[in-house]
């Protein structure tokens, strides 16, 4: 599940409340773990906070043993599982290195390893991709998917909505400390995600005549020979292609759903659904 929202939406505050680091003003948070209850409930959760850091003058080996120990693991078990994770990230040679000797990205991977060592039922990742290069982001996404496949419930917070779309199947959209949207990603996209058509044609006059006053078209914008067309909610790609004038000369066409970012702007900020060109379009 992805917790989404712009900076300052309250994502980290929500997570800190779940982790019992900050207290909520009202309400309560309950878990339904298979293992772990009472005062060892934290052992069922793995947490990667937004503020990245590890004891700089401690070795990777000691950090794994210490943080694993706090999650109820024996020293040897923690270190062995830690080694397995280091191997996945290509860091096994750094097992005895001090944290200060590692690069920022390497330390971030070690930190990820420390929060999954104890095989938590729930894994909370706050901005897990920030500070990672594209290759490391892909590696992290893959490991997150692997853990989810093995049955770990994963709650992932990010303001990078495109990355969340790639790994989450449920989202919780929030703004100014409140829920804006919650549900299955596909359902949300079906409900709010109109299709956007990018079309290039030399026959602009013909296309404009077709689009104007067409009940299946929500809005459209033109930039020379490039057109950006937003379809009405219930109109899908197949239907749009079917109703296009037969002899319209088309050089390029792509039809995609509007992004989570656009949905957020539309729902949370009361933004008008518009075919206006975004940075990506231009």
């Amino acid at each position: 599940m992805g917790v989404l929202g712009p900076n300052g939406a309250g994502k980290t505050s929500l997570i800190r409340m779940i982790m019992d680091i900050n207290a909520p003003d009202s309400g309560s948070i309950n878990f339904n773990f298979q293992n772990g209850s009472g005062d060892n409930w934290q052992e069922s959760i793995g947490y990667l906070p937004e503020e990245r850091g590890l004891y700089k003058n401690a070795s990777v080996k000691d950090i794994l043993a210490f943080l694993g120990g706090l999650k109820g693991l024996e020293k040897k078990v923690a270190q062995n599982r830690g080694k397995e994770w280091l191997e996945k990230f290509g860091l096994l040679d750094n097992y005895r290195d001090k944290i200060e000797e590692l690069s920022k990205g390497m330390a971030q991977k070690v930190q990820f390893a420390t929060c999954v060592l104890h095989e938590p039922e729930l894994l909370i990742l706050d901005e897990p991709f920030s500070g990672l290069d594209p290759v490391s982001q892909d590696l992290m996404k893959e490991e997150i998917r692997n853990l989810a496949r093995k049955g770990t419930a994963i709650m992932l917070s990010s303001h990078q909505m495109n990355l969340v779309e790639e790994v989450c199947d449920r989202i919780f959209l929030m703004d100014k400390g409140s829920k804006v949207l919650y549900g299955d990603l596909e359902d949300i996209k079906n409900e709010y995600g109109n299709y956007r058509v990018k079309l290039t044609t030399a026959d602009s006059r013909r296309l404009e005549t077709f689009l104007s006053n067409n009940p299946r078209i929500h809005s459209f914008r033109q930039n020379k020979i490039n057109w950006n067309i937003l379809l009405e909610n219930e109109v899908g790609p197949a239907e749009f292609i079917a109703i296009l004038p037969e002899d319209l000369s088309i050089t390029e066409i792509s039809i995609t759903r509007i992004s989570l970012h656009d949905i957020f702007v539309r729902v949370a900020r009361g933004g008008l659904l518009d075919a206006e060109y975004t940075k990506e379009d231009l």
Binding site: R16, I21, D39, Q42, F66
Partner: protein
Amino acid sequence: MLNTLKKTFKITGWEVMRNLRNKQFIIGIFLTPVLILLFGGLPNLLNRIDRPEERQVYYLNETEAVLNLDDGPLNELVLQEYQGSREGIQESASQAGADGYFILDDNFFQEGQLTLYTFEATTASFAGLQALLNDSLQQYRMEEYGLEQEVVAEVTAVARLQVTSLAEDEIEMGSRVTTAVIFGGGLFFLLITSGSMLLYSALQEKKDKMTEIVLSSISAEGLMAGKIIGHFLLGMIQIGVWFGIGLPLADYFFDFPILEAFFNPALPLFIVFALLGYLMFAALFVGIGSTMEDIQSASNSQSMVFMLPVLPVLIIGPVFSNPGGLLATLGSLFPLTAPIIVIVRTALGVIPVWEIVLSAGILLVTTVIFTLLAARIFRVGMLMYGKSASFSEVLRWLRH
């Protein structure tokens, strides 16, 4: 509960092991007693190694008076009577390698003035010779007044004062003072060293941005308790090493009955006050430490807090001079000075039982309040990055 305790001790173990592997800590442990002994014992040691050399002074006695060389504290001064003439003494003394010479003649007994000639300029003390000549002069003058030898002896006999305490007391005052210095001083060092280590530990935790990770496994109170216990153990290890190294050396240098101090019957009381005092200051330090971004950004009010353990030192002089006085009583009841002052007064054997009980009660309540307040501050302060908290912010945390 058991799980929380287990995790608290894991934090304790981590703090202890991290520091024991830290070169700076290890060097500090061994270097501090060496420095203390160096500055405290060096003059004594140098004195032993570099004793003043024996000095020889020739003298020519032209009078009937006899210099009583056995009686005076001449120290390293050796007087050699010269049997020749007034003209030859300088040359003879010089040839014999003496440091100087003087001539005792009737003029001395008339005017009380004598000149000592030295071959080289010197800063050495001739107080012993001065006392010897003084005695001879007094003796001569009294005899001049016709006083009998026995009368002179009786008149010049010195008074002797012996102080005997009527209190039924098996422990000597010297031993009591040593006990007071060892336990009072030991606690002071524990507060200063462990307190600053705790502060740096909280700051380092923030700097390393580890707080949130650790707090996802243990409560803020558990983390704080683990740190406090850890640094208490480190402090004890430090003091243990200091005593281990320092006791035999101090015994050699200062000749104090130091080991006797540990067999003091009030030892359990010392431990209670030391523990409460440590916990109170530890809570204060760790709480304030969590409100700071780094040591440089500490405000004046925050810096003042770190001076608080020094308070007892300001009044320890008057307390030693008058351990039963008003200042001593106030110092025993004021919680920030109580641990050290009560220990010192108990060691000196001059504190009523009611004061001990009342002081322990006030200290216990203060420690509990400080710990609860520190836990509140610690919980919020440790997650605050980028700036030090203002006084009003800390007050707001306490209210919520």
